[in-house]
């Protein structure tokens, strides 16, 4: 990796951010999606136990992430892709997407946590574990959804493909996240927390490795 590669990655991240800020409807629609979903949940379930809180949190997280990530590659028009293809390498593109999607999912996760705390209740006992869970969740889901989004966008019929492909793949990551945030919510004992975190990191590592290998192949189409 040369200095130029880092400059390219930084440039791509800036470009994504610029597009995001220019097309404000995506940001506002996700904001509205999160707030209204949480509001509806709080109205339907008057009292929410920590266990249910944990489960609903991750369900809303996945579905918001699906709709937020869907545009990750579909927004790239084909002629623009061709242009990038000549300018920067595929590894730089996928790394930029990972970083950008990680931060946007992180922002989404924080927004979701805050709205859960405001509208529902606050069962969080250990904030460090909770935000560690959200961060690792954003990382894992970001990696999987980025690759699946690139697969789905080259497949055309992307909205249905995306949810069919992404949700089974994301389950192992979610199962670990449920345990990590479950520990933070005092549902589970923290005996296995180090094990869970290191395994989740290992899975994410494998996923990133496989993505770096696969993306150049997909990108060529």
């Amino acid at each position: 990796m040369s200095v130029k590669a880092f400059a390219n990655i930084w440039f791509l991240i800036q470009k994504d951010l610029n597009i995001e800020l220019r097309q404000r409807y995506i940001l506002t629609s996700i904001l509205l999606y999160v707030v209204s979903t949480v509001f509806i949940i709080s109205k339907i379930l008057q009292t929410v136990s920590p266990m249910l809180w944990n489960a609903i949190f991750w369900v809303v997280f996945i579905f918001t992430a699906v709709s937020a990530m869907m545009k990750s590659f579909t927004q790239e028009m084909s002629d623009r892709s061709l242009y990038y293809y000549y300018l920067v390498g595929p590894i730089e593109i996928i790394l930029a997407k990972f970083i950008y999607n990680f931060f946007s999912l992180m922002a989404m996760g924080l927004l979701l946590s805050v709205s859960f705390i405001i509208f529902i209740n606050n069962p969080i006992d250990n904030y460090f574990y909770f935000f560690l869970g959200v961060t690792l969740g954003a990382l894992g889901i970001g990696v999987i959804f980025t690759l699946v989004s690139s697969i789905a966008s080259s497949g055309g019929n992307s909205a249905t493909l995306m949810s069919v492909l992404a949700i089974p793949l994301v389950l192992p990551v979610i199962l670990f996240n449920l345990q990590i945030t479950g520990t933070a919510l005092n549902i589970l004992q923290d005996t296995a927390i180090v094990n869970n975190i290191s395994l989740l990191l290992a899975i994410i590592g494998i996923l990133i490795g496989v993505s770096l290998f696969l993306f150049p192949q997909i990108w060529r189409t």
Binding site: L147, I151, S154, G155, G156, N157, T160, L161, V164, L165, P168, L169, L171, P172, L175, A192, N195, L199, A202, I203, I206, L207, V210, S211, F213, L214, Q217, I218, T221
Partner: protein, 351 residues
């Protein structure tokens, strides 16, 4: 016929597995004992129900029985009375004290007869006491010894309580999952080769292997469900290993949906190949890592021992290893047929 020796081998092995797997008898075992709860100091008669016991006129008088604990505390029976060839009445003269301070101690019942081998009921007899004396108990329980245990004559697979005859499912359930993994692994190799070389042939082979592998996985789930019904009492339970297996099948079901939903052949090949590689690396932690870390009913996970050691003896291995090979070869043959079908259909589409 020249290149198809492995197809013939798969059929021969499959027949061998079915015939030998189902016909090989179980070794004798203890099904049930009444009463199971005894008190120290009493003279009791245990009614012991045997399975597959081979009690003849010759060995009838030489049946012996013991209550043992860790082979250090051993008590031999007073008398063994043969009611019929599946039912024994065994008299024990229990000592006044147990070799422990606790109120209840679990013992293992061992029944031995010449040519029949020894049958074991692990920790199935509970002896209670009130106000015991450990040293007196240890002395009283140390008089006997397990000597001259006989060896089972002939071929037989071990009798395990709860499992009993369902132990034969090892040849099918476990082998199907092994074969599934081998097929998926080979398909990943072909997917990688497709992405490198971009030849339709590799995609046809890879996708056929995934389809057959998924069929094997579903059969593995079904055989596992039948096994669970007979040993755990339910077809499906929220166990971590079962959930992970179901998720893996969902991931591959998504693969099949993906292939149907893409009309363009090149696109379908590239996308499904890359998805296949991704999916394989996700199911490795799902099936092999996560279930080992949490509590699970499934053998080989969460502290449960796998089917090694006493459960899987050499007679079982004689069928189990050929079964894996038979299912793998059969799967490769099925994938081969699928691949040829796809090739013909491709050609027809071109016309």
């Amino acid at each position: 016929m020249k290149g198809s020796w492995w197809k013939i081998l798969s059929v021969v092995l499959m027949l061998y597995v079915i015939v030998v797997g189902f016909l090989m008898p179980l070794k004798p075992g203890i099904v049930n004992v009444t009463p199971q709860n005894l008190n120290s100091g009493e003279e009791v008669t245990l009614e012991v129900e045997l399975y597959n016991a081979d009690i003849t006129e010759q060995n009838k008088s030489q049946i012996r029985a013991w209550l043992i604990r860790d082979t250090t505390y051993i008590l031999q029976s007073q008398r063994v009375n043969v009611v019929n060839d599946q039912l024994l009445e065994i008299d024990f003269n229990l000592p006044e004290h147990l070799p422990t301070d606790e109120e209840v101690m679990a013992f293992t019942l061992v029944v031995d007869a010449p040519d029949m081998g020894s049958s074991v009921l692990p920790s199935g007899i509970f002896v209670g006491q009130s106000g015991g004396n450990q040293s007196l108990g240890a002395e009283a329980w140390s008089r006997g010894g397990l000597v001259n245990l006989s060896v089972y004559k002939g071929f037989g697979i071990p009798y395990r309580n709860l499992l009993a005859e369902t132990l034969r499912n090892t040849y099918f359930h476990v082998s199907l999952w092994f074969a599934m993994f081998i097929l998926y692994f080979v398909s990943v190799i072909y997917s990688i080769r497709y992405l490198r070389k971009r030849e339709v042939y590799f995609d046809q082979v890879g996708s056929s292997l995934v389809e057959v592998g998924t069929l094997f996985g579903i059969l593995g789930l079904i055989t596992g469900a039948i096994w669970a019904k007979n040993t755990w009492g339910t077809y499906w339970t929220a166990d971590v290993k079962l959930n992970m297996a179901a998720i893996s099948m969902m991931i591959y079901a998504a693969y099949l949906v993906l292939r149907i939903s893409l009309a363009d052949a090149d696109k379908r090949a590239i996308i499904s190949s890359s998805y296949n590689i991704f999916a394989f690396f996700i199911i490795i932690p799902l099936i092999f890592v996560i279930p080992r870390l949490t509590d699970s009913l499934h053998p080989g996970n969460g502290g449960n021992p796998g089917f090694g050691g006493e459960d899987m003896d050499n007679t079982m291995r004689m069928v189990f290893y050929p079964a894996i090979l038979a299912f793998t070869l059969l799967g490769l043959w099925m994938a081969n047929l699928m691949m040829r079908y796809k090739r013909i259909r491709n050609k027809l589409d071109e016309i």
